[in-house]
Subunit: 203 residues, 6 copies
């Protein structure tokens, strides 16, 4: 039984690898060549959710990070559907999909993962946890940061992503961080560091 | 001051975006074209750490996930150094690097992130937390899974990755999961599902 | 008015460019790195539909080709949904989507394009035209050929695509061509040619 | 014999798959990273040829589409030669190449495909069919649209492509559509749609 | 005048950057996704030419390396034409092309570069220098090594490249090195090193 | 023994193939998607070193080219470390690495290659050869040219690379060529040529 459970975990883990090969397709509309994967997006969502949760005084910042990491796992089966697509495609609820995805997992693991998706999905409701609201804002902020990064790489269609993401933020910290992300250039981290050191060049 | 802290967070968040563009270079030695990014790796490390921690009975599985998410953030400045490279390159300790990376963050955030990297890096020591050991095994297991996936895509140099990863696992669950990952084909999740439905095809 | 119609055509033409950036996502499940685009698929569907239609004695082989070229235009808005995804995603009918996509086109153009999608989509029904059946088979055969090509490039997960496509063919010519595609190696065209010439090498 | 013919069709179909892996190399001069394939180009040529033919009142718009689909098949053996290259490379006539490419096809198929390439290649001559002129203009217009799309993605070398394509158009509809393509932004289709819906964002 | 010469050098240097974006197209026939560039090829040709020349006792191994580096510069204007293509495309002599490419260079530079291409192109003639023969073999050996590397990455169509390259070698050292390259696995350099160190893994 | 030496050469040659799969990572900080490889860089370094050496009146321009070709071979084991990374990573001296890399080569070959790396690395010292100084400048100039090319493709972070490279040039010719590279547009070579011919278009 345990063996079977472990086999189920391995199958599930391979399924989540699908997100490494799934493009964020809203950026494809905007003519970004080879946009980031859903895994890449989800990784920074986890980072941002943790930070926002600390600043919001959330009881459990690690839970916020974990919500961010798991929130797009249902996309293994749903695909990544952008704003245009969503008008023509009715997707199953992520809460339903994650139940199917975890059906072979040991009960404790399945329950825990389902609870993560449920909690994240409730982020806009009246009973939303603060951690879910932080994970929500992290999702939007990674998109805003990424849009700014693609803009820095040359793309001219990013403003609409930036504006939409800014307007969708829920928490005070998220909103302030959105403003800060507009003021800071994506290259600041290495440009300032290199300037201090004396050379930004290649070997 | 808070504004300054938020600016620092934005700069840090852009820095972590570097991991989306940093290849896992051990796979490049092995002639994998365009291997996964460190972000993609870190994302599944977070997922696996959470699951292993539950099965190991760790007190805080969400912390294990968070350790997995942050453990490679120092690679923004260290690069991703494979086994060959590490014989010729002496890297600063990740604990030192994360201190520099977080120097502009508000104190509470900086302390929390530094503690994550410290805890993960202590995973092999006598005082390692169970969460750190789970994050360590998740790091190795994602590499094993990825190697199996590249093998499935055609690459013939993956066995040495698989063997090395198997041998480096620390926890009972990690070891069992490593075995399960060998028995399960990376395609099982969609092949079995498709078979049940009746068609694995494309539209 | 005409100007307006031409503006609508330009907008529509840019929309169809979306298919150049939309991956065939069934192949992503199967760990094909950077699989072909929907445009690339649709192009060979057009070629194959034309040939099958000639051999089937269809009255209008050019219509079969045109059906093949247009049949996936609704995917600009629906995305490319694989067999797993289709269990969780209810998509609008392509016939409905193409109506929205063509709403700004001059009437004659809109009507013609809608009729193409309608005809292709009816390919399995009792009133299917022979051209629609040829376009259907071309769609499946390109997938079979592509799976064989990816197999030749190393991928080990292609058999299920090949089998499924073989089983879905409708016309006698399609079925025979499916068999022929199994017997012929994807490299035959240049290997035989090079052998005749005397050198398959690079400059 | 038929078997042999079908085997020849399979070989030919694999050969046309070459166009999925052949870059449009004029864009490489202009420092477009990983430009579109000839297949991707040919697909939209088919779409545009059909539309232009309807508006031009051509007797057989489906033939125009089919001309567009097949016109670059000789490039499997000729490569894609840009304006610089063509000064140093004397290529066989496409009409000659397609004869060789189709030599193993059943006679009716071979004759039909050769006639398509012959007709397209005659597009500038006094006996050009209207369908051939539409296919010619579609070829130029897809290049113009693609150049505008690359410009939108950041590339700064596209003006010369746009100007050259505009000047090479033959039909009244082609010329008007060229102008419309300049006035319309490549992002219009999804920006306007998203605006109507209320959100252009990512999930 | 010197200024003008330097401007000519800058233009020429940008032209040679074209080779970074030009795929080795024989490998595209063989369904290698995103094959190496002509620059990447030429770089190892330079390395191999130098080594072969030393072992052949050539008077000037550095000249052999330089021949290897420059031998494909005419491909900026000729494209990279594979064995199939060369039956349909008559290219200008590289010696002619390099004259045009260097027409704006200061005389001494132009003469020197033209002499390099002339010498390399004479490699099969009765007056071939030993350095030219070494550069020729380096060209073939890099292709052989690359084919073995793609085979190691999964591709199943490489044998014909390997055989053809082996048969085209001119020098005793080249022939011996061809045999050695068959006996040695492309992974040997890092596998043996890692084994000696004790770990082939990723960080 | 000779056999063994040839086996060593094959192993070494496969190792240098690593540079085809190693990204120039300073450009990754700057959000260049899929930047050039170290091989691609090294190839144009060889070209530029040869030209600069002729204009500087160096006794042996071919040696300058060869220095350029080999100077980054140690990066097979050191990785490509950018300006940020170099503050956290202490790499072995290239002179030490090349000794290990060549330990299996026949003595004459090993000595020759080690001498190349030694000479290039001494380029800033008082005993630097003129050829080493030319190779040094070629290294910087290729980076400057590449930055200008990425800028032309849309990237907005290239100025700092351009400035740093300009300031690091050692020779009079290098400095003049750096200025010329700023004045010349990367597209000049094909734009002027196309203008003379009459068409810059695609086929």
């Amino acid at each position: 039984m345990l063996d079977n459970g472990l086999r189920g975990i391995a199958i599930f883990a391979y399924e989540t690898g699908r997100l490494k090969r799934l493009a964020r397709d809203g950026f494809e509309n905007a003519i970004v060549a080879n946009p980031e994967s859903v895994s890449e997006h989800s990784h920074r969502v986890g980072i941002l959710a943790y930070i926002i949760a600390i600043l919001e005084g959330a009881p459990n910042p690690e839970r916020a990070a974990t919500l961010g990491v798991f929130h797009d796992v249902p996309e293994c089966r749903l695909g990544d559907n952008n704003a245009v697509t969503r008008n023509y495609v009715k997707t199953a609820d992520p809460q339903k999909v994650i139940r199917d995805q975890t059906e072979r997992l040991p009960g404790s693991v399945a329950e825990s993962i389902r609870a993560l998706v449920d909690e994240h999905e409730s982020c806009k409701g009246p009973d939303a946890t603060l951690e879910a609201r932080c994970s929500h804002d992290a999702d939007k902020l990674d998109c805003l940061l990424q849009a700014r990064e693609y803009e820095s790489a040359g793309n001219r269609n990013m403003q609409v992503f930036i504006d939409t993401m800014l307007n969708s933020l829920l928490t005070p910290t998220g909103k302030e961080l959105g403003q800060a992300a507009l003021e800071v250039d994506p290259a600041t981290w290495w440009l300032e560091f290199s300037a201090r050191i004396g050379s930004p060049g290649l070997s």
